[in-house]
Subunit: 237 residues, 2 copies
DNA sequence: TATTAAGTATGATCTAAGTCATTTTTTACC
DNA sequence: GGTAAAAAATGACTTAGATCATACTTAATA
């Protein structure tokens, strides 16, 4: 008899990712933590393996801590009345997810799911808030991060209100190309549509246009950006 | 010969609004400041009278401090390629405006203009950051505020992507009705359209429908909300 | 490797909402 | 108080993009 799924997950989760050796550390908000602090985080965190499309947290639940992405991708989204998702952000290696609701004391206004297999650590609310309170660099990093995101979302709103779907697709592909770095963009057509803010059918049609125009190339579901400059032109400001 | 405009402004600006007696204090992030801290803010701030549609700061400029609204309304907006404004937020009495860019160290990604005659105090960057560093309550208040706004903007994005203009107008009117509290909503049709994210003509047409349906009543440019419940129904989630 | 399900693609149709042109009303200012 | 300018309103027209129906392809699982 084969192993149970739980066993497999446990096995993978026991990769023993320690903060000290975490490849994502230097890109993360935790980069300013002292050796002692890191050791303390290490002993208070739990690291787990997530399969594709598993929830980290759901809309309306109360935050119990933060998630630190060691490896993988996570979509942050909110669901409309009709159930349609709007993806607000795609988080990647090194990012800390879910600390916003931590400060507001409110329930999550968004949900988070893995987009692919991921290794993600969890740090409890108390430990995290304690660190923020005592570590000036971490705190300033968070203030900076929150502010930057606020600016990002302002321009997201403007794009939604003023740009055509075609323009938004171009600018979305550029954003995703950065996030997926050396990999091809790897999102379902539906997720991509939910990021751009359009119907899946419309997205597919426009993506075909982009292919015909030599802007992108598709490898089944994966999308390769061929002409970054062209997309920039198309995306406008 | 009558007084020059500068004199009049000076006169009004010399209302001597002190933080201790500021009516907006209790609603503001500064409510947690100690007596000493307030005195220090007081001696380091400048308070000025702004006419209608004057800029507090413009997109792309570097922040030199924060603005505290003693009396009045301020629109926070961003301009698209074609010059069309997208209004992100309408700030009112008690709100502190412009502290987001302060933490990110970047230039303003948005602009701010008065929507009506306003009394607004200015606190320099150094003084403000200093207070944030030393006052735990203020700091936590700011973290909470930033987080809440982030959540607001996520739902703003979702609304833009998924709701019809009619639904967005309903929800915008509800938001504005809260902001204008006991007053009627007092925005130009163009500003309202730029808040809803639609063309001015479309806004005017829909507003007329709302009038016909008994949801609102207009007093020339001002808008009175008659049927809050009806608007809530219409706005959806 | 068959079978099913999920995801991707395409076609046909409809309408919400944008654009441009013009008129009416309100506001600002000599 | 009269005139000019700005804001609001209405009409006619056009189209981007949503929706629904259906076909095709890739992935999953027995």
């Amino acid at each position: 008899m084969g192993k149970r799924i739980d066993d497999l997950m446990l096995e993978k989760s026991h990769k023993h990712v320690t903060c000290e050796t975490c490849g994502a550390l230097k890109d993360s908000l935790f980069c300013s933590l002292t050796g002692d602090e890191l050791t303390s985080v290490d002993s208070n965190k739990s690291c787990s393996y997530f399969k594709k499309d598993q929830p980290l947290f759901i809309e309306g639940s109360l935050p119990r801590g933060v998630f630190c992405i060691n490896e993988g991708k996570v979509k942050i989204y909110s669901r409309g009345e009709d159930g349609k998702e709007q993806i607000i952000h795609v988080a990647t290696t090194g990012e800390i997810v879910g600390f916003r609701a931590m400060f507001s004391g409110e329930a999550y206004g968004v949900a988070a799911n893995t987009l692919e297999e991921s290794n993600i650590c969890f740090i409890g609310k108390g430990d995290f808030l304690n660190m923020v309170d005592t570590n000036v660099n971490l705190r300033n990093g968070i203030l900076r991060e929150l502010s930057k995101e606020l600016a990002d979302r302002a321009s997201f709103i403007k794009n939604m209100a003023q740009k055509s779907v075609r323009e938004r697709l171009a600018s979305s592909l550029l954003i995703l190309d950065d996030i997926y770095a050396e990999d091809f963009i790897n999102l379902s057509r539906e997720d991509l549509a939910n990021f751009v803010g359009t119907a899946t059918e419309t997205l597919i049609r426009l993506l075909k246009d982009f292919k015909d125009e030599g802007l992108v190339k598709t490898h089944v579901r994966k999308i390769e950006v061929l002409d970054k400059e062209g997309l920039i032109q198309l995306a406008g400001s």
